[in-house]
């Protein structure tokens, strides 16, 4: 259980988040969506402790400010939006940085980086220099490192967490589906996933719960059907949007074209 309450963040004296909240349950994929500048990434960075903020963040019932960094790293991994790597590390060496705490002590630890690379579709990329990869490949290599850090979604009955900041922004559609499937598998296995997303259709397809942000506040929070409504989306994005449903699975999708037709 992730429970963040009364989160206020000011950047450069200007309030960016006001009284924001975020609830996420282990075993579910929670997605934060909203227009540019609505505070999605700011909320995630506040919750992961990267930004000074007021309010409280509890993870698995513990105040995250009271958990030492090494213990927090055992139950939570964070994928940043983009990161610049200093020094010429190989892909294998970057992924290996995710081997921390108890995972590093497993007997099969030496093979885990290779397994993690296989999971994100980068099998055979271990020997290449990280800087020589394309943006999308770098994003997936970072995801492999983060996955490695919380390799087992549940340890001793305690769920572990993945925080992903726009995990599919740099990816083609095939790899978008692959990465979102990975995130869902992690949640199905008992872990918690919180992801900031831009793509409403991927969100509709994979999310279990959605938090919709607008102007630094939470506009709506709940299940896909409760949050992704014509009224909510049109208001949040400032344009006419229509939520449609696939006939068979009743799965939502959003097309701007549909709003014009209706």
């Amino acid at each position: 259980m992730l429970d963040a309450k009364n989160i206020d963040v000011a950047l450069g004296g200007k309030p960016v988040l006001h009284n924001a909240r975020l609830h996420a349950k282990a075993g579910r994929l929670t997605v934060i969506v909203g227009p540019n500048g609505s505070g999605k990434t700011t909320l995630l960075r506040a919750v992961t402790g990267d930004l000074p903020h007021s309010g409280s963040v509890h993870l698995n019932g513990q105040d995250t400010r009271r958990i030492p960094a090494w213990a927090l790293a055992e139950i939570r991994a964070v994928l940043p939006q983009a990161s610049q790597l200093a020094f010429p590390f190989t892909v294998h060496e970057v992924v290996r940085l995710g081997l921390v705490g108890a995972t590093a002590l497993r007997p099969d630890a030496a093979q885990l980086p290779t397994c993690a690379l296989e999971r994100v579709g980068l099998a055979g990329y271990g020997g290449r220099y990280f800087q020589e990869l394309s943006g999308g490949e770098q994003a997936r290599a970072q995801l492999a490192r983060v996955l490695l850090q919380v390799w087992q979604p549940v340890v001793d009955g305690v769920p572990r967490w993945l925080f992903l900041d726009e995990p599919v922004a740099a990816l083609d559609i095939g790899h978008q589906l692959q990465v979102m499937t990975l995130a869902r598998e992690f949640a199905r296995a008992g872990g918690g996933v919180v992801a900031v997303m831009h793509d409403l259709n991927l969100t509709a397809m994979f999310a279990d719960d959605i938090t919709l942000m607008l102007d630094g506040q939470v506009l709506a929070q709940g299940g896909v059907g409760d949050v992704l409504t014509d009224a909510n989306l049109s208001r949040a994005y400032g344009c006419a949007l229509r939520v449609c449903a696939l006939p068979r699975a009743n799965e939502a999708f959003i097309l701007p074209q549909a709003a014009e037709i209706a």
């Binding site: 960094a69 090494w70 610049q84 200093a86 060496e93 872990g191």
Partner: protein, 364 residues
């Protein structure tokens, strides 16, 4: 694109060799080779010098039970041995503080010489040389020959503290501010040093010039005893930093999410650099390029993983400094060159060659 279930994956069989991109084996081989290199350089260094005491003769005498001549004993144990140990420690300290600073700044061109730590240590030493004579005799009697090393160390430490205070806000150190503050500090220390040079008399000018160029010629057991503990402490602290420096390569946020206490590690890194650089400058003056060339060469040879880079840098730095010292002693024997000239003549072109070969590293 088949999604694999979690938890169920165990590697099918342990791979017979290291995974692609895992350079740990190469790093271990490099370190082993470096140990041999340092041992060889040490033995050579004991046998080389103006006095013409040859090591095989001495070893033969020892083995055959003959007593060593007084002259041989003095040359070997009171001149060459402390010089050897000083060279080993100074070389290791300079290379390790360079590697730590580069990891801390996430920039392969950062060096204690660049962020003003070396300049601060230099100012301390010059202050001691020029103004030391004005101290009350009682203080001089106590401080004695420790005065210059001590002042150099304090100067390096003080400049690191100022640097740190200027560039740290609410427990976060800004690397950009620290680099810029280092430039300002270096300029300030240089200007103050310049003023002191004007005040200095002829004998002091001579001392200053020699000290500034860097030399191991003044090595003695007493100087070693004053500076060695600081250098040894810094060298012991360095491996503790390895994992943190690896994490910092991905940025401070990523490092903290990997479970690294970033601020504490940065504090330790800064203390390590100040200690190693200050003490090294104190005993040997300004010896350039070791701190920047050694980590570069090693990153080319075995990759940037600090778990291996730091011990390897200590070894290569120590061995290279011994070699440079031998060259300094032999080129114009029986006189000797300041070692700083040798390291600059050898290190400068190597550094330029590295930059030419891999222009990309400047942008990283």
């Amino acid at each position: 694109m088949v999604a694999l279930p979690f938890n169920s994956r165990r590697p099918r069989r342990p791979p017979a060799m290291a995974a692609a991109g895992d350079r740990a084996l190469r790093a271990r081989a490099t370190i082993t080779a470096l140990v041999v290199f340092v041992l060889a350089a040490s033995i050579l260094s004991l046998g080389v010098g103006a006095a013409g005491v040859s090591l095989p003769d001495v070893l033969w005498q020892l083995a055959s039970g003959e007593a060593l001549g007084l002259r041989d004993r003095v040359v070997l144990f009171d001149i060459r041995l402390p010089r050897l140990l000083t060279g080993l420690l100074v070389g290791a300290s300079l290379a390790v503080s360079g590697a730590v600073m580069q990891g801390l700044f996430r920039n392969p061109l950062a060096d204690p010489g660049i962020v003003g730590v070396g300049a601060g240590a230099g100012l301390g030493a010059v202050l001691a040389i020029v103004l030391g004579a004005m101290l009350p005799p009682a203080v001089l009697a106590v401080a004695g020959m420790h005065l210059v090393p001590l002042a150099a160390f304090l100067g390096g430490w003080a400049s690191t503290l100022v640097l740190y205070r200027v560039s740290t806000r609410r427990g976060r150190t800004s690397v950009a501010t620290m680099l810029l503050a280092g430039i300002a500090l270096g300029a300030l220390a240089g200007a103050l040093t310049g003023i002191l040079v004007y005040i200095a008399d002829d004998q002091q000018l001579r001392d200053l010039t020699f000290w500034g160029l860097g030399s191991l010629a003044g090595a003695s057991w007493a100087k070693l005893a004053a500076a060695a503990p600081i250098m040894v402490l810094a060298l012991i602290a360095a491996p503790v930093l390895a994992r943190a420096l690896n994490g910092l390569a991905l940025g401070e946020a990523a490092a903290s999410h990997m479970g690294i206490s970033v601020q504490r590690m940065k504090n330790l890194a800064i203390l390590t650099v100040a200690g190693a650089t200050g003490a090294a400058v104190a005993v040997s003056g300004g010896i350039g390029f070791i701190g920047i060339v050694v980590p570069h060469l090693l990153r080319l040879a075995m990759g940037p993983d600090h778990r291996y880079l730091l011990p390897a840098a200590a070894l290569l730095g120590a061995g290279l400094l011994l070699l440079a010292d031998m060259i300094a002693r032999l080129v114009i024997a029986p006189a000797e060159l300041p070692i700083g000239i040798v390291t600059a003549v050898l290190g400068g072109p190597v550094f330029l060659w590295i930059l030419l070969r891999r222009r990309g590293i400047v942008d990283m």
